[in-house]
Structure formats: structure tokens, C-alpha cells
Amino acid sequence: MALKITSREVAGVSVLDLSGRITLGEGSVQLREAIRGLIGKGTKIILLNMGDVNYIDSSGLGELVSAFTTAKNQSAEVKLLNLTKKVHDLLQLTKLYTVFDIYDDEASAIASFKK
């Protein structure tokens, strides 16, 4: 299943709901374009809801990192929400868990941007 991205706004935070696989090729490109599109429009706070991401490869992990650094370079923030066990374990294994702010519930994630 290719990556599906839908966007919404909650309390001023741009939430991207991701579903499917973030892998080299179409999925990673879609994510990159979505993030850059938001940042290009001046969005400063982005929450990636990964509750339906059932697979991510090393390229997908790289794309998450690129999203983080791109945002940081533009004084924006990208945080992660609802990691599945597989994605959680991959972020732990690669030590990327230390890079991102990660949340299990949306309300807490949204509130964190306002601090």
C-alpha cells in the first residue's frame, strides 16, 4: 500500500495523517513534498500522525530526519504521534528516538507546541 497523506489543522498545528508505507520512491517523495509544502507556506508547527504507518525503510527514516532538519533550518518544528510498534522499534534501534519529540496522544502533542 502506497503512502496516503491527509492534512488537517488542530489548534493552529498542521497535522499530517499518514497511512501506508514510507519507503524509497513514491512514499518518501510524497512525505518530503508534503513537509516542504507546509514549510514553504510558512507553517511552523507540524505533527506527523503515524498511527497507520505499517512500514518504514531506511529511506523513510531518512525522510523523517530530513523533515526534522528542514523544519529546524526554517525555525519550524516537526513532532511524531502514535508510532506503531515496528516504527517505534526502528527509531529506538537507530537512536532516532533521541532526535524527535514523540507522543502517544494527540492532545498532549498539540499542547507541547505551545510551550
Partner: protein, 149 residues
């Protein structure tokens, strides 16, 4: 070039594939099936399939650079004692000793460089062989005694 699939009398599946992302998907699917047929649990199947996918991506993207004139060769075998997957490209070659640790602080924010690390994390043995030209990776997952599938 058309893809080629052969299966030996011992059940070893051999593929010769074009350097495309479709071929990467095919390698991943073959590895997933090999692991499932061997009776591995969900986590182990995921690890084997992902390791094979990462190796195939390396072969297609970094080794053959999507060159339509170059092929990747993959084989999948259950020896009874282990699952053995080989993936070879026709590229410039790879020195695994020179790969940086993606978990080192200075590399953590790099967008690339995690594929081989994941392969090594998920498989019990990983061997590199320089083919001149090209590189062949052999991925081995040991099977518990009495489990052949």
C-alpha cells in the same frame, strides 16, 4: 530485459532482475515468503523481509544506479539450519569497513546511511563479497533446531 526466475531441486529460488524499484518489491516479497514458509513469527518475518529489501535497494540504487543495462541477482534458500539470501549487483563495489556508524552523534541527522546497519541488526550473519564488478551480500538467519517449515 525480462526478469528470470528459476527454482532448483533443493527449492533454492534464484532471480535475475532489472534495476528497478519493482525488483526491490519482488525481492522483499520472496524473502517474506521464505521466512513465512520457514515458520518464523511476525517480527522475524518482518526483519528478514526488511533486511532483504534494504540489500535490494542498495543493489539497485547504489550498486547499479538504476542502470537498465545492469541486473541484480537474488537467491533464497532454506537449508534447514538457516535461511540464506544472497543479493548481488554489478556496480562499483562496496567496502563495508568504511561505512560510518549511523548512530554516531555526528551522523544521526544524516538522511542516508542506515541500510547496512539495519541489515546487520536483523540478520544473524552478513557477508560481503566483491565480485569485480559488483558486490554480493549474503544474509543468514539461523533457524531454531527442528524448525524447517
Amino acid at each position: 530485459m525480462t526478469n528470470l526466475v528459476t527454482e532448483s531441486k533443493t527449492g533454492r529460488l534464484s532471480l535475475r532482475l532489472n534495476s528497478t524499484m519493482e525488483s526491490v518489491d519482488e525481492v522483499e516479497a520472496a524473502a517474506e515468503k521464505l521466512a513465512a514458509d520457514a515458520g518464523l513469527d511476525e517480527d522475524e518475518r518482518f526483519h528478514v523481509a526488511m533486511a532483504a529489501r534494504e540489500a535490494a535497494v542498495n543493489a539497485v540504487l547504489h550498486g547499479n544506479e538504476y542502470d537498465p543495462a545492469k541486473r541484480i541477482a537474488a537467491s533464497f534458500e532454506n537449508t534447514g539450519a538457516a535461511l540464506v539470501i544472497t543479493i548481488a549487483d554489478q556496480g562499483q563495489g562496496l567496502d563495508p569497513e568504511r561505512l560510518p556508524d549511523p548512530r554516531a552523534p555526528e551522523n544521526l541527522l544524516r538522511g542516508t546511511g542506515r541500510g547496512i546497519f539495519l541489515i546487520r541488526s536483523f540478520m544473524d550473519e552478513v557477508h560481503f563479497k566483491q565480485l569485480h564488478p559488483g558486490t554480493e551480500l549474503t544474509l543468514v538467519k539461523h533457524l531454531a533446531a527442528g524448525r524447517k517449515g
